[in-house]
């Protein structure tokens, strides 16, 4: 008996080592992608200039690095991390591969909140109001899901159906507002819906970081519960997990992460679906590793996509929401075709 347990432990440790290695590799790749992104830009600064501007005040170059490039890259990293993390959490608690911040309507609700603010205040420069609107409505949508779930025993089907219904409701409301808006307002909304990192500043980054990174340890702490949940509500319940409470608290935490991810940059939604899948295909379903790794893969995709989006057709920028789909989907297909076992 002991031998079998030892073997299991050894097997788990070996797999855990491999997963830790993946985490380290993803982290290293992310740092590399960020460094590359920092060195590339429209002003054509040379590598030495970039390093010098990074370290001391060189005037224009220093401003470009510290006020334009670095905030952009850090925000890309945060947004990608948040989307990947939120997607992994939603997929875990709903036990559904289609779940993502957008499937649950949280993204659409945040979008509606942002658009309402743009229409009420005239749009343009009130980034903070827009962020508050996005956050408020993502919370409202989470509350709505929770309310319905509470009445109907918080089954994953109920939550997904509520989410999809919400998604359509908020999309329609957004379209209605857009239809009624003036030309300027419509343009502002379009800017938001393609996703953009151009308006990211350090203050925005501070708030986004708080919203994305603060719930992370709490979610990681419940990683084993998510693991147990993947074998079904009944099994998890039998093993002592309070499924209902887990689901409720995770929805709130993941909504906060989602709102933090999109309230300053607009819709960069696809990453939330694909980053957890890519990660799961490589390292499996242990949420201790899956949660941080999904975040890292999400961050890697968005940072890479942003650098690509502003260089391939420079100086024209391809909106980040478009590029993430372009690089994420083919890679996702590749893994889907290559996999030999059912991973979900």
């Amino acid at each position: 008996m002991n031998n079998i347990a030892d073997d299991l432990c050894r097997g788990y440790k070996a797999r855990a080592d491999a997963r830790a290695l993946f985490l380290a590799a993803a982290f290293f790749l992310l740092l590399t992608a960020m460094a590359i992104g920092l060195c590339i830009g429209a002003s054509g600064m040379e590598f030495r200039e970039v390093i010098a501007s990074l370290l001391k005040d060189t005037g224009r170059g220093h401003s470009i690095i510290w006020m334009l490039r670095l905030p952009r890259i850090v925000m890309a990293m945060l947004v990608g991390f948040g989307m990947g993390l939120a997607g992994a959490v939603f997929q875990a608690i709903l036990r559904n591969p289609l779940a993502s911040p957008f499937t649950l309507g949280v993204g659409s609700a945040a979008g509606f909140g942002a658009v309402s603010v743009i229409l009420v205040f005239g749009g343009g420069f009130q980034t903070w109001y827009i962020a508050c609107g996005a956050f408020l409505f993502s919370l409202i949508s989470a509350a709505l899901i929770l309310a319905v779930a509470k009445m109907k025993r918080a089954s994953s089907e109920t939550m997904i159906l509520t989410g999809i219904a919400q998604m359509f409701l908020f999309s329609s409301l957004t379209s209605l507002l857009q239809y009624m808006g003036t030309m300027e307002q419509v343009h502002e909304v379009v800017f938001w819906f393609f996703g953009s990192l151009s308006k990211a500043g350090w203050r925005e980054i501070g708030l986004a970081a708080a919203m994305i990174l603060l719930p992370f340890p709490a979610l990681l702490w419940r990683a084993w519960d998510f693991n147990l949940l993947s074998s079904g509500d009944e099994s998890a319940l039998a093993l002592g997990v309070n499924v209902k409470r887990l689901r409720m608290s995770a929805v709130v935490a993941a909504s906060l992460v989602t709102a933090g991810g999109i309230c300053f940059t607009g819709v960069i939604g696809f990453v939330g679906l694909v980053a957890p899948h890519i990660t799961r295909m490589v390292i499996g379903n242990d949420h201790q590793f899956l949660l941080p790794a999904s975040g890292l893969v999400g961050a890697l995709i968005v940072v890479f996509a942003d650098t690509l989006g502003r260089t391939v057709w420079a100086p024209q920028v391809i909106p980040i929401g478009i590029v993430t789909s372009f690089i994420g989907v083919p890679f996702f297909f590749y893994l889907l075709m290559k996999r030999t076992r059912e991973y979900w």
């Binding site: 401003s63 334009l68 343009g124 239809y179 343009h187 151009s198 100086p315 024209q316 920028v317």
Partner: protein
């Protein structure tokens, strides 16, 4: 009568035209210039936002959005002709209107280069040649005056034209680009390949434009009491991260312009403002505000009021 429309097609229009549905503000404005507003039996719904400017025209029956009008509402008004832009709404408009024997004319009166020609076409169709000639002469006189002086200018200051959405430049093919060229500016986005390209803030900093002009649409510049909304938008541009390194920001040459004078029949007013900003020394006597007043009182029959641009920083409080 055969006329050439904005798509370059020769189309046969049967006369007389007594009942018109106007699907956009540009054509409605030109109809008023031609003193043919009493023939307008239907208008696009968005025009109610410019209450005040349109006077009694606001009471005319609405036919829905300029982009996607209610075809049944148009048909029920039994117009002789519907006048729309070349691309919006789509070709379905002609097909459906043909069922009711209603003609469709497509004119792009927002383009400065073809404005006079299209006004003349409309003048001929409506028997308002005299009014059309009056406007075209006025327009041509000012355009030529500006062109002549600009041709003699020694420099072409670099200009960043930002369209309604932040960080979207006005590239070749856009109205803003055309206006910039006419005003003697060198558009930093002239070499880009689409009309409204998204650019990075860093690119604008690296191009270091001497003048920045931004388009804004508050729905109704005519109803504004002061320039505060434009000034707020200008200040937001002045405070964009790292933009203090741009020559235009350092010298306060950042301006915001209302959509009413940005392209369209009043583009000449917008061009006059741009000329004042880009080549102030060349045109010491040019007064865009007086030009606007003259246009509104002479051709539109309304008094001058409202706010259409931000205050110049060096002439603030003037």
């Amino acid at each position: 009568m055969t006329v050439r429309d904005a798509l370059g097609r020769n189309i046969e229009v049967s006369l007389p035209i007594q009942r018109i549905v106007a699907l956009n503000s540009d054509v409605l404005e030109v109809l008023r210039t031609l003193k043919a507003e009493d023939r307008v039996v239907g208008v696009f719904s968005e025009m109610v936002r410019e209450r005040g400017f349109w006077g009694a025209l606001v009471e005319r029956p609405k036919v829905g959005s300029w982009r996607d009008p209610d075809l049944e509402a148009i048909a029920s008004l039994k117009p002789d002709i519907v006048i729309a832009y070349s691309r919006n709404p789509g070709p379905l408009l002609e097909k459906k209107m043909a069922l009711f024997g209603i003609q469709v004319l497509r004119l792009d009166l927002y383009k400065v280069e073809t404005l006079e020609q299209e006004v003349q076409v409309l003048g001929q169709l409506l028997g308002r040649e005299k009014e059309a000639a009056l406007f075209c002469d006025w327009h041509r006189r000012h355009i030529e005056m500006i062109r002549e002086k600009i041709d003699g200018a020694l420099t072409r200051p670099s200009v960043y034209i930002e369209s309604y959405t932040d960080y979207h430049a006005a590239g070749p093919g856009s109205g803003g680009h055309e206006m910039c060229l006419l005003a003697g500016g060198r558009n930093i986005a002239a070499g880009l390949s689409i009309p409204y390209p998204r650019v990075t803030p860093e690119w604008v900093v690296s191009r270091n434009p001497e003048v920045i002009v931004k388009a804004a649409a508050y729905g109704n510049g005519y109803a504004l009491k002061d320039r505060a909304p434009f000034n707020r938008r200008r200040d937001a541009i002045l405070h964009r991260p790292a933009w203090r390194h741009i020559a235009a920001v350092a010298s306060g040459q950042v301006h915001v312009m209302d959509s009413a004078i940005w392209t369209g029949p009043r583009a000449i007013i917008g061009i006059a403002y741009m000329v004042r900003w880009i080549h102030p020394a060349l045109f010491p006597d040019l007064n865009p505000e007086a030009l606007h007043r003259e246009y509104l009182e002479t051709f539109q029959g309304v008094s001058y009021r409202g706010a259409f641009v931000s205050d110049g920083l060096r002439e603030a409080g003037r």
